[in-house]
């Protein structure tokens, strides 16, 4: 999503978000992420207005104090930025890719099933399986921090069964243009 993104050409405008809509976003985040209301309050105080940064291709980035916090594609789920995810690693469910896949991940490729199902990879166990269309934190074999954020294209059980093709579609990753953008 952010492989090629330059603030000068891809941003359409900054607008403060109405409080009524902010309330909706807050509720949406609380239901989608595993985050306590208190923690959310700490990263996004109620008093601080959210600013919507509209970008091309229906991407909206929300910022607080000019720092990107979360983004959204169309009306899809809210994704935290990678910086935020590093600070609060537990807010998204985790999948892990093996070492061979890191190189491709850092080049912006979608994650294929075999990289997730192999020995170095990790998928949630069957009793905590994720349906398709869940935002996930992508970790890497032998590393502590998340390397990207993506959305599952197949259910995790399905990934195990099919073991072929795209399993997780990448939204943002370490070193893409959103990562380089510390402030907006």
């Amino acid at each position: 999503m952010f492989k090629k993104f330059s603030p000068t050409t891809d941003i359409a405008g900054h607008t403060p978000v109405k409080t009524s809509i902010q309330r909706g976003i807050r509720a949406g985040i609380l239901s989608q992420w595993k985050i306590e209301p208190e923690t959310l309050e700490a990263i996004w105080p109620k008093k601080e207005g959210l600013v919507l940064v509209k970008c091309r291709e229906h991407i909206s980035i929300y910022t607080v104090h000019n720092e990107p916090l979360l983004f959204q594609h169309f009306d899809g789920p809210y994704y935290p930025t990678l910086q935020l995810l590093h600070k609060y690693p537990y807010i998204l469910p985790m999948v892990k890719v093996d070492r061979g896949a890191i190189r491709f991940l850092l080049a912006g490729a979608h994650m294929m099933c075999p990289g997730l199902t192999s020995v170095g990879g990790y998928l949630p166990p069957a009793d905590a399986s994720l349906p398709a269309g869940t935002p996930v934190a992508i970790h890497a074999e032998g590393k502590d921090n998340a390397v990207g954020i993506g959305i599952t294209k197949l259910g995790t059980e399905e990934m195990r069964k099919v073991n072929k093709g795209v399993g997780v579609e990448l939204a943002t990753y370490l070193g893409d243009d959103l990562w380089a953008l510390q402030t907006l």
Partner: protein
């Protein structure tokens, strides 16, 4: 009215949360993640970046304990765990190649920067009236908006960032201030830093006859 509405959805959540959780639920403190000063990645990912050698140097200097953790012999052999040797060697080769490429790119960018010109143009608007347009500041990493603001406060005239017919951005200052701007650039006032004086060029543009 809005405050009342605001209170309704916020209140029930902690009320439900409170009985089973400890009474004053503190916000969870963020995890402090160390980022490499060279490539901005967490240091464990430096090996995939384009500047591994410099990252390694930085880490050795700033955080020797972490350097041992990531780049000692044990760590390297442990990393090989699941990956075949030839895949690893290929990876290393790729990294080296990438590094060389990135360095060459940085070199080229620097060269380009040194060669790029700043053009200060005096444009006649009326017989006695001029505007001054400054083009090419962005090549030196100057924020055009800030520079425009600086000009307008310095000369007490209007100054704005506009797109010229070629679609490139330039600063247009009202009034003939080209000489003063040259002086400012040479002195490096405010945001106008790092421009070699040789790269500054002053041009005069007369209005064409008969043009509106």
């Amino acid at each position: 009215m809005p405050s009342k509405k605001n209170a309704t959805p916020a209140n029930p959540a902690p009320a439900v949360e409170d009985p089973d959780a400890p009474p004053p639920p503190d916000p969870v403190p963020p995890v402090q993640v160390l980022y490499c000063a060279v490539c901005t990645f967490p240091p464990e990912y430096c090996e995939f970046g384009a500047s591994l050698t410099r990252c390694k140097e930085w880490l050795k200097e700033e955080h020797p304990d972490l350097y041992d953790k990531y780049y000692s012999e044990d760590a390297l052999t442990a990393k090989l765990g699941t990956l075949s040797v030839e895949a690893q060697s290929k990876l290393e080769k790729d990294t080296a190649k990438k590094e060389a490429k990135a360095e060459a790119k940085a070199d080229a960018a620097l060269k380009k920067k040194m060669a790029s010109q700043v053009t200060i143009k005096r444009i006649e608007r009326n017989k006695r009236k001029h505007v001054t347009s400054i083009h090419g500041l962005e090549a030196f990493g100057i924020d055009l908006k800030k520079a425009a603001k600086q000009f307008s406060s310095k000369f007490a005239t209007g100054s704005s960032v506009t797109k010229n017919p070629q679609g490139l951005e330039e600063i247009v200052v009202q009034g003939d201030v080209s000489d003063e701007i040259v002086e400012m650039i040479e002195a490096g006032v405010g945001v106008l830093k790092g421009i070699p004086a040789d790269n500054v060029e002053v041009v005069e543009e007369k209005k064409k006859k008969g043009a509106e």
